[in-house]
């Protein structure tokens, strides 16, 4: 039944936005669990935690981090759009607001990706 959240055939951009919101929500929940497990590793000693850092804060992991940031930014910005509409505001302009929110997501994501790239690559 839940597969219908991701059924977008014949649907409008709003349903695609809804499906992506669900998908990024699932991704962020899985990431949160992994992140908490990651942080808990510090209880096993500083060396263990630092070995995790050495494994994940690397150019090889950068692409996953960039995609994760995209998921986070999309979920956040789209969530704010939904809150705005659910407060009974601006639903008449919902198409324009959807385009604006996608533009905001892309701009913030590109800036964040550049900052992450320069940090990890040391350039």
């Amino acid at each position: 039944m839940w597969q219908k959240w991701f059924s977008v055939k014949g649907k409008s951009l709003f349903s695609i936005a809804f499906s992506l919101h669900r998908l990024t929500g699932v991704v962020l929940t899985i990431y949160l669990c992994m992140h908490l497990a990651y942080l808990t590793s510090i209880r096993m000693g500083k060396e263990v935690f630092e070995s995790f850092i050495a494994t994940t804060v690397t150019p090889q992991f950068l692409i996953f981090d960039i995609l994760l940031v995209l998921a986070g930014i999309y979920h956040g910005v789209n969530g704010l759009r939904l809150i705005l509409h659910e407060f009974g505001l601006t639903y008449e302009s919902r198409k324009s607001i959807l385009y604006v929110s996608v533009a905001i997501v892309l701009i913030v994501w590109l800036i964040a990706s550049y900052r992450m790239y320069t940090f990890v690559m040391g350039v």
């Binding site: 959240w5 409008s12 809804f18 659910e86």
Partner: protein
């Protein structure tokens, strides 16, 4: 010009696709195409239709993945190949006919009629309404209960007891009517987790509504009202 109709059929046990080629003239509607198939090619094809002018809402089907009224959709506007399916989120009875009993029960559940304390059928009085008061709800009276909004709603897809956009829009229509006095009764009915709070604002209902009613707007308006009433009730 010949057009290919691919129809998803259901015989009570299995679902399958069947293809028909029919001659089409300019202006011919999908409903006329279905009647042509029934009268000339396969008399067992089953679909629901009545008024043929987008008033009764009986003929809503999925055409190339999107719910539309078959009677107001011209074949050549869609193209020379059509896929016709029954609406989603409804139990299919046969071919394109779906079970609307639950849909109408949900509609009935929100009390879609004027509720007044001074109902007097012996000596009825005229209820005066200004044009502004009429326009507050008029658009929402145009609903033909075709079920298109319900069929694309992701909340209705995952929970059978969700009232759905059509029923909540009907509740809003009467709540916004200046002659009505049943707002609190209806708010109590629609503010549960099977009501307005189940909506995730996918807004697809407004995109597919053949009467351009904007059910998503009605759901958000009644949700906001419901939130205000709930907060007020805490301080009472």
């Amino acid at each position: 010009m010949d057009v290919e109709f691919r129809i998803r059929r259901f015989d009570g046990e299995k679902s399958y696709w069947q293809t028909f080629n029919i001659p089409v003239k300019r202006g011919m509607t999908v409903l006329e195409g279905l009647y042509y198939i029934k009268e000339n090619l396969d008399g067992s094809l089953t679909f629901r239709a009545s008024c043929r002018m987008a008033i009764c809402g009986s003929c809503a089907v999925k055409i190339n993945g999107k719910p539309r009224l078959a009677c107001e959709t011209q074949i050549l506007e869609i193209g020379n190949s059509l896929e016709v399916e029954p609406l989603d989120n409804f139990k299919v009875i046969k071919d394109l006919v779906t079970d609307f009993e639950g849909f109408f029960k949900k509609h009935e559940a929100v009390k879609p009629y004027l509720i007044r304390k001074d109902d007097n059928y012996e000596e009825p009085v005229e209820l005066i309404q200004s044009p502004k008061e009429l326009h507050a709800y008029y658009d929402f009276t145009l609903c033909v209960k075709c079920g298109a909004c319900y069929s694309v709603c992701p909340a209705a897809a995952t929970r059978d007891d969700y009232l759905g956009p059509a029923a909540i829009t009907a509740a809003y229509r009467f709540n916004a009517d200046s002659r009505d006095e049943g707002e609190k009764i209806r708010l109590a009915l629609v503010c549960g987790d099977n009501g307005v709070w189940r909506c995730h604002f996918a807004a697809e209902c407004s995109e597919v509504c053949p009467k351009q009613i904007d059910p998503a707007k009605a759901v958000q308006k009644i949700r906001f009202k419901s939130a205000i009433e709930t907060i007020k009730s805490i301080f009472r």
